[in-house]
Symmetry: C2
Subunit: 309 residues, 2 copies
């Protein structure tokens, strides 16, 4: 599991930062990539990475501002042109369907894979046996969502050696033991599954938030996550501007991280007014509130390690 | 007057060529830039040039395929964000309005300049005292237009020294003489304006064509132009593919140039299957039919000199 930042700027592209997009690489976990937002030229950024468009399984859109969605039609079209044939689902606020469908139909783009569009509300956005993705509304003038991505705990591994030492042979019974059940063997031996399974592997938790003012919903979404990705469009001394434009400052992002007791904060959506050393300063500002801060840059990757418990 | 190629690839962006866009720099002529097509990331390409989005006055769209229009919403939005306040007109086939209006409204993009959208048909697309732009339908499976851009002849300069030698003093009468009128001065002297005006400056002519098969309309649009920009998606030996996908080969483009008696042919819309030396070969193919050929590359600029007659 790895976060790969494809676009870390705000509003308009600059030479240093493209507009918003983040890839969540789940290659080990499920052989796919999830995308969060898809600003213009996201497909161009992808050309310089190992991300394969055909492997993109889900795209979560935080909000409909152009710097978060104008790369969608091109990416969806190119994915088909390049032979992508597995289904793809786009999750986003109401309006995302009209945008995608108009762009594809006007341009005569007929994708050759199953394209599903889900207009989201607060609550569960997606769930399977591996992941739960939930959303909450933030404060951005237009509907903007934050996503909480929870990897479910993996059951511990079966302690095969311990079973073999007792003479229990491999077979269907192993499956029951692995699930922690109590089984009685043919010879009358009673096996309590819980004693033959290693510790569960804790799943990882992430929060990837859309553009927003400082708000309680951010804290709820980020509660105790391993990594929080939060916008920081303005420096600490521009709280007024941040408020007026429905954005956050560095220290507001850090305050969310602190209150939510996250492990790591990554700042993104950086205005092009901050260049070079000024970006180090943004990090320093956040560190006055919360220690584990990094600032994203285009093509930065951030591995999300499993928590050994 | 200068053509600046911003995207010279076909279908999908590659590391070497972006999707279609060409800037016609009219800085001397009218202080503005015209754009032909606007594929995704055209605004990103522009960041690396001297083109100023606020100076873009007109955008002509040849057809609605994604690689020719998906950069429009972002460019239109950024132009406003960066302070562009002069009017801008987009000319394109029916459907361009729905595309632009949906993208801007869904994304909450409110541009602060006059944005006009004109859905075009064959015939005159735009005319003023300086330029005449006409369009014809090509053959591309979906409506695709070629544009003929004719700069009107400039009247010759007034031969002031010759007038002064005759004792004719500057005044309103100079304007009449410049227009070639015959005037009678207070002292009875008769001045035939045509004798006091230098030779007219011939205007330049260009043809910028959308994606197309070889067709007669291309030849008509390109008749005796100074520069013809023609697609060459396929090499000479892929005429079958070109036909099936409604595109042209190098030699078909050259045949148009030859029949239309143009001065210069520029090949663009080059498939990413042709790299490096293979592109030189494309030029050689075209040269077997028509001598003055160049192949466009991203950021190539091509000055269009005035014809001294
Ligand atoms: Zn944004
Ligand atoms: Zn094309």
């Amino acid at each position: 599991m790895e976060l790969l930042f494809l676009g870390t700027g705000s509003g308009v592209p600059s030479k240093g930062r493209n507009v918003s997009a983040i890839a969540l690489q789940l290659l080990e976990e499920r052989g796919t990539t999830w995308l969060f937002d898809c600003g213009e030229a996201t497909q161009h950024q992808i050309l310089h990475t190992s991300v394969r468009p055909g492997r993109i399984e889900k795209i979560f859109i935080t909000h409909l501002h152009g710097d978060h969605i104008f790369g969608l039609p091109g990416l969806l079209g190119s994915r088909s042109f390049q032979g992508g044939d597995t289904p793809l689902t786009v999750y986003g606020p109401a309006g995302i369907r009209a945008f995608i469908e108009t762009a594809l139909s006007v341009s005569g783009t007929h994708v050759k894979y199953g394209l599903h569009i889900v207009e989201i509300a607060e609550g569960t956005v997606y769930e399977d046996e591996q992941f739960l993705v939930t959303a909450k509304r933030l404060e951005h003038g237009m509907p903007s969502y934050g996503f909480r991505i929870v990897e479910k705990d993996l059951p511990g591994t079966l302690l095969v050696d311990k079973l073999r030492a007792l003479g229990v042979r491999p077979g269907p019974v192993y499956q029951k033991i692995k699930q922690g059940e109590t089984v009685i063997l043919d010879d009358g031996m009673v096996i309590d599954g819980r004693e033959f399974v290693g510790p569960a592997k804790k799943g990882r938790k992430l929060a990837v938030l859309g553009d927003t003012r400082y708000c309680d919903a951010s804290i709820e979404l980020a509660e105790e996550v391993d990594v929080l990705v939060h916008e920081a469009t303005f420096s600490a001394n521009e709280a007024h501007l941040a408020h007026d434009y429905y954005h956050s400052t560095t220290v507001q992002a850090a305050e969310v991280a602190k209150r939510a007791r996250v492990k790591q904060l990554i700042l993104t959506h950086i205005s092009s007014r901050y260049q070079g050393e000024m970006c180090d300063q943004l990090v320093e500002e956040a560190k006055t509130i919360f220690p584990n801060v990094a600032i994203a840059s285009d093509f930065m990757s951030f591995p999300v390690a499993r928590n050994e418990k």
